[in-house]
Structures are given as C-alpha cells and as structure tokens.
C-alpha cells in the first residue's frame, strides 16, 4: 500500500496537559455529541444507514436566524431548501464520483447519498425573506423572523 495515514510513533510532549478527569469528560462529551447526531440529527434517522447528513449550526440575533451547514462536495443544483412555519428543510444529495466505484478503494471515510435534514427554528420566519449562499462547501441560510416573534422585551412593572 503506497499511501497510508501517517502518525508519529511517540507523542513526546502534549501542548496542553489535561487532567485525567478533564480528558475523560471531553472524551465522553465527544461520544455523546456523535451519538446525539446519529440518533436525533436529520429528521427520521437517515444517518442510521450511514449516509451523508450535513452538520448544522443555528444562531440568532434579534431579527435574523442564521443556519449554516457543512456540505462539502455539493453544488447548488444538488441542494434544495424549503421553509414552512418554524421549520427549515434541507434536501440534497452528495454524489460520489463514478470513478471511485469501478476502481480499487483504499480508504473510504467520506459519506455519500441523499439526505433530508429538518431544522427546527426558534420561531416563525418570513418565507419570502430567505437568503441562501453556498461557498466552498459551506451553506449559509439567513432567515428573517416574523415581526411578532422578533425578540420582544417585556417590561416588568413595579407596584
């Protein structure tokens, strides 16, 4: 095998020494995060079959909700977005290059296939005001909150 992942044989010095407890905790956190994504991520368990499901982050400010997804290898025509109520649906397909099926595969870590990803939004959004942008494998969707849900401050009266 002319090409193998390279690892240094000895780890001489670690940049930051974690205490055994911290290391244990961060390891557990990582397991749980992976597990949560497998079980709850992406609608009705499509990841259980081992296909590609894009990881997502959702952030909000007073007027907007921004959803970002990592979709390496997808072109705009491979993606479809729809909004209804407080739900954003991401549908798409990560295609595997045809050559890789016929030829010998050494190592296959990347996932391929169709996916449907439902993202629950914190409130209703205006379906007319959605901007989506795809650049270098990162999809950014900017949604505008509907008036009544945009962060309202509730004053507390003093009697």
């Amino acid at each position: 095998m002319p090409l193998i992942p390279w690892r240094k044989k000895t780890v001489t010095e670690q940049p930051k020494q974690l205490s055994p407890w911290e290391a244990f905790r961060s390891e557990l956190n990582r397991w749980f995060e992976d597990m949560e994504r497998e079980i709850f991520g992406g609608g009705f368990w499509p990841s259980a079959v081992g296909g590609f499901v894009p990881p997502v982050d959702v952030s909000e400010d007073e007027k907007h909700i921004v959803v970002r997804a990592e979709v390496p290898g997808l072109r705009p025509e491979d993606l479809e977005l729809s909004v209804s109520g407080n739900q954003l649906t991401l549908t798409g397909e990560k295609r595997e290059a045809r050559e890789s099926r016929s030829a010998g595969v050494y190592q296959s870590e990347c996932r391929y296939g169709r996916f449907v990803r439902l993202v629950e939004l914190p409130g209703a959004v205006d379906p007319e005001k959605v901007e989506a942008e795809l650049a270098n494998g990162v999809l950014t969707v900017k949604l505008t909150k509907l008036g009544e849900t945009a962060g309202r401050r509730i004053p507390i009266k003093v009697r």
């Binding site: 090409l3 193998i4 952030s59």
Partner: protein, 132 residues
C-alpha cells in the same frame, strides 16, 4: 465503527503544530487507486485554494488548510453540531509515487489530489509472442 467515528473531525492530538489558536481537525478522506494514479479526496469545507498548503517532504504528504473562523465567539447558538478550525493530516507516501507530478484542485469544499504512479509501478501489458 467507534474508530471511524473518531476519525470524523476529531481534533488532532499529539503531533499538531499550532500555528494559531484553536483546534485542528482531521479531514475525512477517500483514497482511490487507479491504474495510472492514486486519487485522494478530502472534505475540507470553508477554506479557499490560497489557504490550502499541500506539502511533500521526506515521503510524507501533508495537507494543511487554514479555515476562516465563521463561528464568532459570543454568538448565541441554538444548535452547534460542528466546530470550525484548521485542517491538518499527513500520509506516508511510498516511492511508487512520482512526487514531482502531484497535482491538487479545490472545488465545492473538496480537495482532490492526483498522485501519479511512478513509471515503474504502472501496470504494463506484455505482449506474448508466438514462437514457431
């Protein structure tokens, strides 16, 4: 399975050269062998061609990609399934690869490396002569 999981975007441990703050991620790769070359595809979303450094030295092929931060600290996240950081991964390459002709391209967040096999390692069809 557990190992495979860990491979996905696991912050690198041990041999990282920290060029800047933050974590480094191992990109996921597919490696495919063809008759003439070996193709390596790495998922490295969120970077730009000018920020990718592919280096070949002493038989070690190294991929390093600088990623612009896009999850600003202080942002209110409702959901965050991935982290943003640089990508770094190394591979040991045998002599059967013609290192001088390695080419790389980056499109849609995927880095594709073409590693041409050295002349000696290519399959050759040997004609069989009929002896009379």
């Amino acid at each position: 399975m557990a190992d495979e999981k860990r491979m996905r975007r696991t912050p690198e441990e041990g041999h990282v050269e920290h060029l800047r703050q933050g974590v480094c991620y191992l990109p996921l790769v597919d490696i495919v062998e063809k008759a003439e070359e070996i193709i390596l595809k790495a998922d490295i979303p969120g970077t730009r061609p000018e920020n990718i450094d592919v280096n070949f030295e002493d038989g070690i092929l190294t991929i390093y990609a600088k990623v612009d931060p896009r999850q600003e600290p202080g942002t209110q996240y409702l959901l965050r399934e991935y982290g943003v950081g640089d990508y770094h991964r190394s591979f040991q390459v045998s002599e059967a690869i013609d290192a001088s002709r390695i080419t790389a391209e980056y499109a849609d967040g995927v880095l594709t490396l073409h590693l041409p096999k050295a002349e000696a390692a290519r399959p050759r069809k040997i004609p069989v002569q009929v002896s009379s």
